[in-house]
């Protein structure tokens, strides 16, 4: 079963705009990770945020984590056509070493 759910399921924006996607999860976690998957390819790790962190940046990516609401958001600033992909959050259930992936947000950036 999927622990995380991304919202929205699909997002279409113009190049240069910002894209925000959200992830909600159900159980306590040690960390949350975001991955990108281009069409027909494997997943690529983007960023990891630990449960004691609230915000993290990496290039054009900004991730926030609110453990009280069991939610995270991924912001991609100044989007590019190459950002077109599916984005997944993955959480490790506290006390296990198991990653559970969400259902994904399909982002389309129009040139």
């Amino acid at each position: 079963s999927q622990q995380g759910e991304e919202d929205p399921q699909a997002l279409s924006i113009q190049e240069g705009e910002n894209a925000t996607m959200n992830c909600s999860y159900k159980t306590s976690i040690n960390n949350l990770q975001w991955y990108r998957q281009n069409s027909g390819r494997g997943l690529v790790h983007l960023i990891l945020i630990r449960s004691n962190e609230r915000e993290k940046h990496s290039g054009r990516l900004r991730v926030t984590l609110d453990t009280s609401k069991k939610s995270s958001s991924l912001l991609i600033t100044a989007s590019r056509a190459a950002d077109t992909a599916s984005y997944f959050c993955a959480t490790d259930v506290e006390g296990t070493y198991k990653y559970i992936f969400g259902t994904g947000t399909r982002l389309k950036v129009l040139a």
Binding site: Q2, G4, N30, N31, Q33, Y35, R41, G42, L43, V44, H45, L48, R50, F88, A90, D92, T96, Y97, K98, Y99, I100, F101, G102, T103, G104
Partner: protein, 115 residues
């Protein structure tokens, strides 16, 4: 460094036939994962290895699925017999150790179609 290698990339079989997928993780990565990804969904963990030991196979349908990682390096996932519902992409991933603070590196996956 070379990434996670998977073969074959595509496989089409008739139902009730057996099928096997192979994965070679990144050198030095002790932890190996097999995931199944259905269309439009996120990956779901099937089995996790620490070296040659399967430490989490709770999601593996053991009546038809089996996996091995004999020398703690490459791994094989087998389905016998395959069913229509097994059509999916099978992803292999590896990471440096068993902690979840290490990112997982994914292979390109094997797309299985069962007819």
């Amino acid at each position: 460094e070379a990434g996670v290698v998977q073969s074959p990339r595509y496989k089409i079989i008739e139902k009730k036939q057996p099928v096997a997928f192979w994965c070679n993780p990144i050198s030095g990565h002790n932890t190996l994962y097999w995931y199944r990804q259905n269309l439009g969904q996120g990956p779901e963990l099937l089995i996790r290895y620490e070296n040659e030991e399967a430490v989490d196979d709770s999601q593996l349908p053991k009546d038809r699925f089996s996996a091995e990682r004999l020398k703690g390096v490459d791994s094989t996932l087998k389905i016998q017999p395959a069913e229509l519902g097994d059509s999916a992409v099978y992803l292999c991933a590896s990471s440096r150790s068993g902690t979840t603070y290490n990112e997982q590196f994914f292979g390109p996956g094997t797309r299985l179609t069962v007819l």
